[in-house]
């Protein structure tokens, strides 16, 4: 039955993808959409729009969505904390610091240039958080990881704010990156991000049984033969790869990674082997639908996807939490 649900979700994702390609501020005929994706003729205006604008953003939504859905599930399983979002390990804060540094000090202005600094920052921040959280006899327990992550995020955010307060041009660029959007991404960026998402995604999906063991408590997990340190390192690595790539593609979109696993869990129950694929499909569906809404509502401009997912997403999230009898992991 869960398998049927997954198939339905996949269909929903395909529909959302289609919608994302079809809807937009200009009208594009259906056959142009199809041609634009597969056999583009750049002289036809409609197909150009598809190639240059809608396809990249649809692909960005797919990539970022899959990445965030998986990363959010893994981080919640690793920390056994329902408040955990992928940014908890400092990923978003690390990315922000390096992005601001790149924009203000190195004067990079193209997103394609500075997002990889963001990725580097995300990795370094996670290493720092994980390192500090692992000190001591018990290794990186959920509480220590959460605290170390939140503290590191605060330090890095402060550094980011400090740089922004003194440089209004950088601030002007940053406030748009910061809100999270799917537009303005070059196909090249997506192509570069793809391998990270693929590797991270495979890693995350393989973690299903380990996360199930971890959910029963450290002792039970060890008793079932798990090497906890391996699980944590693999988990952190997958989160960094996925979340770093997602932030590079779409900017910091924290809420998706937090809310989607909860929603998935309501359907699948606590088995991570199902929560992971459900999250991986649900997140991009929601992201693409939010992006479509953002484009429709604010024609001819757009309401960035980061705003829409948070503003609209929190309502069903709250309803879901209210409905569930046990709002716990």
């Amino acid at each position: 039955m869960l398998g049927t649900g997954l198939a339905l979700l996949a269909l929903l994702l395909v529909a959302a993808t289609g919608l994302s390609l079809v809807v937009g501020s200009g009208h594009v005929a259906l056959h142009d959409v199809v041609d634009g994706v597969f056999t583009p003729d750049r002289s036809v205006r409609g197909q150009l729009v598809i190639q240059e604008v809608r396809l990249p953003r649809t692909l960005a939504g797919l990539l970022a969505g899959v990445a965030l859905g998986l990363a959010g599930t893994v981080i919640q399983g690793l920390t056994r904390n329902p408040l955990a979002d992928p940014g908890l390990l400092g990923v978003n804060a690390g990315a922000a610091v390096f992005v601001v540094f790149a924009i203000s000090v190195l004067s990079l202005t193209e997103p394609g240039q500075y997002i990889w600094f963001g990725f580097l920052g995300a990795c370094l921040a996670t290493v720092l958080v994980y390192g500090i959280g692992s000190l001591g006899r018990e290794g990186a327990t959920p509480v220590k990881l959460a605290l170390a992550g939140a503290a590191t995020t605060a330090v890095l955010s402060s550094m980011t704010s400090a740089m922004l307060l003194t440089d209004s041009q950088t601030f002007d660029q940053f406030r748009f990156w910061q809100v999270g959007a799917l537009g303005g991404r070059d196909i090249d960026v997506l192509r570069q991000a793809l391998p990270f998402v693929v590797v991270g995604g495979l890693l995350a999906n393989a973690m299903g049984p380990r996360l199930n063991g971890l959910a029963l408590g450290d002792d039970v997990a060890r008793g079932l033969g798990q090497r906890l340190s391996t699980t944590r390192v693999l988990g952190a690595a997958s989160v960094v790869l996925l979340c770093g790539a997602a932030t590079a593609v779409a900017g910091p979109l924290g809420f998706v990674g937090l809310a989607v696993p909860h929603a998935a869990r309501l359907v699948t129950g606590p088995d991570y082997r199902w929560i992971l694929p459900y999250s991986a499909l649900l997140a991009p569906t929601l992201l693409l639908l939010a992006d479509v809404v953002g484009r429709v509502v604010a024609r001819p401009g757009e309401l960035q996807v980061g705003v829409v997912t948070a503003a609209l997403g929190c309502v069903p999230f709250i309803l879901l939490v209210r409905r569930s009898a046990r709002a716990a992991l």
Binding site: A154, S158, L165, H262, V307, T309, I318, A327
Partner: protein
Amino acid sequence: MNGLDTMAEQPTAAEAAARLGRLRRHRRRGFGAVCLVLLLAVLTALLVSLCTGDIALPVGDVWDTLLGGGDAGSRFVVVELRLPRALLALLVGFAFGLSGAVFQALLRNPLASPDVIGVSSGAAAAAVLASMVYGVSGIALSGTALVGALAAGAGVYLLAWRRGINGQRLVLIGVGVGTGLSSIVSYLMTRSEVTEAQSAFVWLAGSLNGRSWPQFWPLFGAVVVLAPLTLLGSRALPALQLGDGTAAGLGARVERDRLVLLGCATALAGVATAAAGPVGFVAFVSPPIARRLLPGHGAALLPAALTGSALVGLADLAGQHALPHTQLPVGLVTGVVGAPYLLWLLARANRVGQGG
């Protein structure tokens, strides 16, 4: 007790009671000592704030001025400029520290703090909306922030109510509401002029710039009412911390006692945010610092409040004077100062093996 292994005499009831009494007094002395040290840190921060600045004043002059003497110049600098700001910093830290300690004790989650359950986001959204769309500023802006904080807190509580309050549900709904409100803020930041967005950003970073007596007195009044109320309400915490079942068994009015505490903690965070913007990180980081300074003392509300005071006091001092020609907002510095200290405590405790 079942015989073969105990060689020592069993103590009598009176001896046992005396031993427990000694243990209790020892712990109380430890508590008092830590509070005293924190108070000293707070007073030191205050004194140094009064002496430092573009016009450096020796301690003696400051003391004279506070007592009513001194010339007009130092009176202006000390009493009009520095004193209100320094006192405000201490009060803001006190309120946030106390609020955070209550939230973390009640919700039993180390990530809990007023920021996380939507209170700070409510204040921020209300303030940014008011200032950008309606051009509100000054005291009215503070008032708007307070209303936003209380409305968000009340909203989260009501949404989480379902035949009672479950801590996990409250926190999750708080995160949901907070995220929704933050998205409004982010959106407004992208739709406004750069200069407007930047001044909103400064407010959001948490700042005490330009704060003086008009901002101090309302906060003082509020804290004077709320802090004792909170400490009184915390008499129920020892029972509430044991879980709803055990607490009810001990005769705690679980829902009522919890509501009182949450209400006070939300109001404290609200008034503090109204005065200085969302310096919420203080609420997050002070309780764990206090708990690690006083292990085994449970929620440690007063130490957490004093830690918050010391933190914000020192942070504002550093923010004003650390970099030449720049005033860093206090919210920034608390992050840079407070977080590494927490990390160090975490690392040190971990190495010794006390766990997280």
